[in-house]
Amino acid sequence: MFYSLPVPFQDEHVASVVYRAFQCTHHLSIEQYYKQELNELFFDMPQRFWLNSYFDVAIAFKHYFELPEFLSRFSNLCDYTLLLNTEQTNIQSPMSLFEYLSTVKFVQAVNIKSDRAWRYCPECATEEEKSLGTSYWHASHQRYYRLSCDRHQCLLKSLEGKFGLPPVEQQSSEVTTKQVATEKRLRWIVEQIRLTPSKLRKSCLIQAFKQKLNISDAEHLKLQNRDRLRYLHHWFADCYNKTGLGDFFEWGAMGANLYPLDSIRGLYFMLDCKNNIHPMIYLMLCYVLLTDDEIVMALETPNEGAENNFMATRMLMPFEIPNAKYA
């Protein structure tokens, strides 16, 4: 699709490489090009995948990088495979994994603020324009669990308007202590999840959530438990509002009664491994429900030769709901 692609800069997102190549070889705008030539919609959000374009670029650079290495270094696609349900698919190669990824529709993705617009560090953009002649999108800035730039310790800004290269000469804002702490803990959780084999991650976490909430899959059928869960989600929403997670997520009218944090239905939907909810929702649940020790324990993998029922033996202390009415 694109000829003579520029070599990615350090930490450059593949979308940025595609865009720079496109700009130098096409007279159309990229939105027009996707609509007219590729007959596809152009999504100016990092949560959507221009996978065909990404693969073209990855193949063009196969002399320099292996495909998995290229995609993990120059894209944020690996963030979306963090807690992907891949049990029912026949995924044998990175290529097939990403092909599958392109078909997945994440529930509640629209409400993840940090994944809705391309983000950049104003300081980085200005510096790079001076030193390299062009600003570019960093792959690390597009991670949905990130709020700030590591180099400049400033808040990432979201692109407003049409997709293009990051604007230069923009004012940067300082990141608050609360934001730093939240981001630091979320990054730590992601690191812990990555240590676990990808097939076990989701089931381990969901098992831990169930134990912590003291509910089972069949429990929603019992009417007497509905009151308990209704109180639970009220407390849950309150707890969420007090943390620094508001920078990552916002409530939306369209998703009423679907959020795991504010509805029973949403909670059960999330606790079903088959459903693909945006991974940031799981991270937020980890953040709110589990302590660091509990996360480590939940994601612990069985040693070689361990018994198959290892999972059942791990027990977390159920969450105590400080609600007099329920008690």
């Binding site: 070599v7 070889t25 320099y64």
Partner: protein, 482 residues
Amino acid sequence: MRHLVPMRVKADYQSSLRDKYADNPFVASMPPFMEKEDFDAFMSYKHTLPDDLFELLTIDAKEEIDDLKKTYLPLNQSYQLYEHIYVQMRKYYGQVNPLSADARRLQNELSISLKSGVAFRQNEAELYSELCPTILVSGEAGCGKTVTIRKILSLFPQVIQHQSFAGKPFNNEQVVYLSFDMQSSKSKKALVYNFFAELDRVLGLEASKDFIKGITVVDKLLSAMKLAIHKYSIGIMHIDEFQFALNRRKASKDIPTLAELEALFNKVGVPIILSATQDAITEFSQNAASAESQTTAMQSVRRVSSVAHITFKQWKHGANATNTFFDVYFPKSIFCASYEIDNKFQIQFLMYAAGVPHAMTELAIAFVRNFYDLKKKGQVETISDMSLFLAQVYKVRMQTWHSALRVLQNKYSVSGDTSQSETEKTQAEHVKSVLKATKRKSRTNKPANVVANKIERIEEGEEVINPDSIVADYSKGDFDVL
């Protein structure tokens, strides 16, 4: 052969470069500069007729004779041109290091300008103090301008594929040179289309589809061309048939002015070779000022030849290239004894072809073919005088050339003015007088010797040509008409 896609060459970087070029992959990938001896040896090609020419099958022998056309003899101007091309290309690539911030910045600016459809400004050239480097090559048609330029350019790989430079990934497709024609039609767009057609050919891609498909505005087309020049790192461009732009008339507003072309190439600063015919240069130098583009004569002249003006002249008697030409086309192994090529023949030959290499080649090949035919038939003894034989070949073979050559023959001096000997002068005058005598007969109302019962008269404007006279010329033919 130009329709074939040139091979992509993997970049081979020179290690010993001046410090200022050491970190530039484009300069490093240029082939090493050749000294004159190496250049001449590399460029020249002399096709030798086999000694056993008359023992070969006729078809093989005719092919051998036709292959004489492949002969190329470099002139002093060729090396001068090579030097200028090399220097300008290296200087340009030195300024557009693809690894530098400025190159990326310029590319971004050009792409934004293309997409926003910013109008192409005619006076843009005035914003830049440095003139766009231009090499003007002029000469009579057939003097070998285009062939020489394209042969010199072919010393450079046309498309270079870069993969890594100085141990780092560097993915780039570099088009070192591009050679295309100035449009002859009254359309500014045609220049852009010619450019992109040639770019597509050398890249083997449909690059133009993405750059210009659907664009109808001339300004945007020119912006797309500028961006493509930069994107594919074109090192030098050759615009052939530049006479169409040089003597642009007021009425033909669709052909770009010099100022517009200057503005087009100046921002990117890519060196340009312009080749134009001698008569266009003469006319241009007499009337260089253009009220339309508000340029003075000096400005216009500087623009077309800011680096050099190289003239390809008609070949003279006694020059090295001319002597080599006669050695190659009239080898002593074939033209010996009473058929030897002497000075008189050479002068007559040069006068006929007016020293224009293309005409010389055509005439020589026709002569050798006819000589071969007669000798093969055993009728070579019928050639009593080589000069007369040459005159007959010229009359039959070169009749289409004659009207064009006649003007040049009148002005042509067979030798340099100062060194022309009395003998040469006398012989040249004699040939001129013979040529004058071969002029068309004066018109008459009484057509003579009508061979057919009813001959249709061909009218060309007011002129009446007697078709019988043409028939008569051919009917004399002991000579083939090639």
